[in-house]
Point group: C2
Chain length 388, copies 2
């Protein structure tokens, strides 16, 4: 298998948009292709992520239209992937594998989502379709409820007072908002304080409003190429060192919600391929759909022992200058979470960090970064390790 | 790249079902895995096709649940593909590529669709979401209308009287129903005569009811393995000789609806990889969503010059003993068309044909077969060439 590099990335501002999915994607894709010093006609395939285009716009089968919109040729296969919130990361993994295998030399990957126009009531119901439709959805378990249960389980299992856990979770939110305030593409570029989080409206006990990431519109893209083609790239190539993807069944079959089995399998594969451990990671963009989710990820990714990661943000260990910088972009919490675009949005941030292009939110000396994306209620996890 | 074989196939009866997508898929998958002499735990990845699970069952993110339902391990990535009617063929191509590349030794591919429970009115609208949602859907162009326009264009372009073209199209329907009557898994196992087609209700002028394939529930699956693993297979391995996938933009950008540009690109790639031409193909399962669609495919796949394929069925050239046997399963027209499952359903038939297991519908001496699947209104085409 050949070495594979990312040589261009693009991203729209996340937030509320009046553009269509394909318009959003076109903006991100053309930015990525431009950074790569290439033309749309050079793209040999499109790996496209979108979750809910049918509900959002009445648009299924979006990949070939997205490819055509930016001027890709008919000979380039355009393929849609859907893995709930991990959609674009799964698309990315397949693109990298097929470039590594020699099927393509140059591939475009990306995703788009514009869920806000369907309204937050329908969006909540639509997102919940990523959990089991027969034994979970009908019970009223939407995603805030899943992670609320995980919070209670975490507190009970590890003997942490719920009030203390909630304070530490609130520190995750404060940290990610502080990071987001440094990111001109973030949905929320505003710092908040602990009091704001802890006095927020209750969403699903014990999760309050600022424990939850927003609904977002947005698109992201990147260009991946074989090593030979990376030499001519205008920007510093960022290399894919390891990848992993794993799957798990419905929540009722998982038992312990504080252990995301698919993540443990996916990250083990990533570290093995890269020949690295958590200690080697300088910066990580991980799946903080809820504040507790960042804590669960920190532990499963190996940065902390299980039960030991909850105070990481409170101790300042996951911000600039800490043990590992977590979600310098602001994360899903502050940067936003356009579900089908989130994965390559995380890639965007890590690539920019490893190039040293992040200005006030730059992680000093970052050489190795990780992407972690969780789909559904623990059903899919996909990880990437990137290096400069 | 390694040689890749199909060593097991499975398929539910197509038609109306009261099972869920995952129940249907489980039946097909376990049949395929059993034929392969393997266990679900041996499957290293799932490539899963489904188009409209969110509309059908409120179920997005179906792949990991499908994998878990049959007992696949967490370490096995389960990935959903969606490419309108070409969904499962696209999933198949990606599975074969990644087995060929050495990423997996054994992979499960399949698809499921159970569109009938949403009702035919909603199904018609939902299927139409595979065409462009901004410039086609709002004009009222559903798929019968697209192929009705293609019929008029074909008649005008090639100077064929519409009544003569319609008679020849009706012969396609009669032929595929005759084939379907020999297939115990077909939705319609009943012969019809020319009169029945030509006196059917008008759907979209000039397409009448029996020019159109039905809505169907069903699931299909196959097990693909690297050459080394094919040696121990209980059944004769069937080899993947060539593949192609291509994409095209919205209909308004395509111009000539009688030329499916994505098919021409995809099949050229397939023939090139296989080192074969149309003359080498003994049997083909192609995308007869409408009778005119079979004619368009016959030409683009190289069996006839453009403008010369319309009378193939009328002349008996596409049935048993003819030039090339087209849709011996009954095709989408009579076997049925559970959209996300159709592609691997076509693979099922070709594999059974090349093994010589098709009883009364066996194509005598078939050695090389082709799969052709069209997604949306000419947006995606994926082809496979299989050999014994």
């Amino acid at each position: 298998m050949r070495e594979v590099a990312v040589i261009g990335v693009g991203m729209t501002k996340f937030g509320v948009s009046d553009k269509t999915n394909i318009e959003l994607f076109s903006q991100a894709a053309l930015e990525a292709i431009g950074e790569a010093g290439l033309e749309p006609g050079d793209m040999e395939a499109l790996f496209f992520g979108n979750c809910l285009g049918d509900f959002e716009e009445g648009q299924l089968h979006m990949a070939p239209f997205a490819a055509a919109a930016i001027g890709m040729p008919t000979t380039a296969p355009a393929t849609r992937f859907e893995a709930a919130c991990a959609t674009a990361t799964v698309a990315m993994r397949h693109a990298v594998l097929l470039v590594a295998a020699g099927v393509y030399d140059v591939a475009l990957v990306g995703g788009a989502e514009r869920c806000l126009r369907m309204g937050t009531d329908l969006a909540t119901r639509a997102f919940a379709m990523a959990s089991d439709a027969y034994y979970e959805g009908p019970t009223g378990v939407t995603f805030p409820a899943v992670f609320a249960m995980a919070t209670h389980m975490y507190a009970a299992k590890h003997g942490v007072e719920l009030s203390e856990l909630k304070r530490c979770m609130a520190e995750v939110s404060v940290k990610n908002h502080r990071h987001g305030a440094l990111n001109p593409l973030a949905q929320f570029q505003k710092e908040i304080d602990l009091d704001k989080v802890l006095k927020g409206p209750m969403i699903a006990d014990p999760l309050q409003l600022f424990d939850c990431c927003p609904f977002s519109d947005g698109a992201t893209a990147c260009v991946v190429v074989a090593a030979e083609r990376a030499k001519a790239a205008p920007k510093q190539p960022i290399w894919v060192a390891g990848m992993g993807q794993a799957s798990a069944g419905p929540l009722y079959a998982q038992g312990d919600l504080t252990r995301v089995r698919a993540r443990e399998a996916a990250v083990a594969a990533s570290y093995k391929q890269a020949g690295l451990t958590a200690a080697d990671i300088d910066v990580v963009e991980l799946h903080d759909c809820f504040t507790i989710a960042e804590i669960l990820a920190l532990e499963a990714l190996g940065f902390y022992e299980f039960g030991q990661g909850y105070a990481a943000a409170a101790k300042g260990e996951t911000t600039f200058g800490g043990k590992v910088v977590v979600n310098p972009s602001g994360g899903l919490k502050a940067k936003g979470h356009p579900i089908g675009a989130t994965g390559t949005g995380q890639v965007y941030e890590i690539v920019k960090q490893l190039r040293g292009e992040c200005g006030p939110r730059q992680v000093a000396g970052a050489k190795v970064g990780m992407v972690d994306t969780l789909g559904g209620d623990l059903g899919t996890v996909c990880n990437l390790i990137l290096r400069s």
